[in-house]
Assembly symmetry: C2
Homo-oligomer: 303 residues x 2
């Protein structure tokens, strides 16, 4: 193991990894990472100065991370890697709601609500009142009772609650009712910029300044026996739908936020008149593993 | 620009980079990095959990870096990337001393010495006394006068001066004389471990624990009109020559440290008897740019 040149070195590193790494999956991942890392250096004939610029950049990304900020996730997002991971791992079964990026602003421990949840409670900034309602359904359109919808979105200034000091805001766990229906009150989402004050912001500026995300409400929808979906609802007409900084837009996830000017309807749903309304159904695929377990249980019963 | 899947996403990200990035070389490097990053994720079908492990690992590497420690360079070293960069950028011209990794422990501002430099001055740890001497030559064996040799190595405990508080140790800028001869006194290098107390150490353990570097003296040899060389002199017989943690060993860089028991010779070179002696010549290639400039000057003279 010596005397390597650019044609023999990669095989030597991979061979050492494959010989010494016990965990099979880790071995596979690391060997592939080394092959691609070396191939990248060879393909562009990376100079020492460029290599050192890369070292300094990755160091600054790591050092920008803290309890509230994850600059490496942001880097992954703007290089399209996060969306690639979604694409690889969440191919929507036919008829199910499509998945998109989780993003760095999901949080555990949000307040729990039932039907008609008012997520505007305690909001420090006002926005356009919106009433969102619909159903959680199976892929063939049957209601799923009591699903849970984790909902979060940016405030009216485009900043998430997690990015500032203070309480949760425009965020909640909303339980659908026995008929599969849910309803919640919030503000209409607005487009916003990804954080641009760190090394990833510098990178985005050098690559043409695509730093905006189209407006969206985040949702994770889950119910026992079904595959949960991590998704967004985008806003029809948003100027950044075709230029999302993180490549997350899907046509099937663009919702029509329609203006309602009807005092009776406003009164019925407990909103000011006029207001904005989004009707949106989520559809979940059955969880394959659960089905399999049920089959086993059934055959046990027969035996 | 929406509705991407794992087959169309990479092209979309690359297209955005190519459209928006003004600097041509940066555009080429970033586009290639994205292609390889995405291909890696696809090749191993990276899961979300694995992706997040990667995010956490890179974050911890960045956060281990400080004024005295560069954990990303260490990561580059143990993945063979640093040696790949050397291989790509420093193909030794025929007859010239081969290059190898710089490593993270070079420092500017070391004390300057002439012929016979004693780098043991102020050393806090003793080692085996060694006398190193030889010449700095052209590729066809002619002496290069007054070359500068930047020399550094680990202390007897395998730790570099830069890794601890205190003064420079076993480090100096040694100038060769007009006949191209240099000589210095130091301690015989010993093998040592790369730093194993950080996230890269954890990685090395998972991949089979190749964390040792064979003993070596670092040298950067330079002279006006010649290509400088960043190199090592390894120690013949070292147990880690075939298992270098950073893949840096070349046969042409292994030196014979021979024991001398000769009172007259010891006295002549100012060493205790017995001592260890290394005879080592460095050979530098002419700098192409300088040659070109000289040719232009010559043709000017003819015209």
């Amino acid at each position: 193991m010596r005397q390597f040149n650019e044609d023999t070195l990669t095989a030597a590193v991979v061979e050492r990894i494959q010989r010494g790494t016990k965990d099979e999956r880790f071995r596979e991942i690391l060997a592939s990472a080394v092959k691609h890392l070396h191939a990248f250096a060879r393909d562009v004939h990376l100079t020492e100065e460029e290599w050192f610029e890369g070292i300094k950049f990755l160091t600054s990304v790591g050092q920008k991370c803290d309890d509230k900020r994850q600059e490496f996730i942001l880097l992954s997002d703007i290089l399209g890697l996060s969306m690639m991971i979604v694409a690889l791992n969440h191919k929507a079964p036919a008829g199910a709601t499509e998945a998109t990026v989780l993003g760095p602003f999901f949080a555990h421990g949000a307040k729990e609500y039932g039907y008609g949840a008012d997520l505007r409670e305690g909001a420090t900034l006002k926005g356009e009142d919106v009433y969102v309602s619909g159903r959680v359904l199976t892929t063939d359109g049957k209601p799923i009772p009591n699903a849970v919808l984790d909902i979060w979105q940016a405030k009216a200034d485009g900043i998430y609650d997690l990015q500032t000091e203070g309480e949760f805001e425009l965020r909640g766990r909303v339980r659908a009712n026995e008929k599969g229906e849910y309803a919640l009150k919030s503000y209409k989402p607005k487009f916003y910029s990804v954080p641009m004050d760190g090394p990833v912001g510098d990178l985005v500026r050098r690559t043409g300044n695509h730093h905006m995300r189209p407006a969206h409400m985040h949702a994770i929808v889950s119910a026992p026996g079904y595959q949960p979906v991590i998704t967004h609802v985008f806003v029809e007409g948003d100027p950044y739908l075709d230029n999302d900084a993180v490549y997350a837009v899907k046509d099937s996830l663009v919702g029509k936020y329609r203006k309602v000017d009807d005092a009776a309807e406003a009164k019925r749903v407990g909103m000011p008149n006029p207001f904005i309304r989004l009707d949106w159904d989520f559809r979940l695929a059955a969880e394959a593993g659960v089905k399999a377990r049920k089959k086993i249980a059934a055959s046990d019963a027969i035996a």
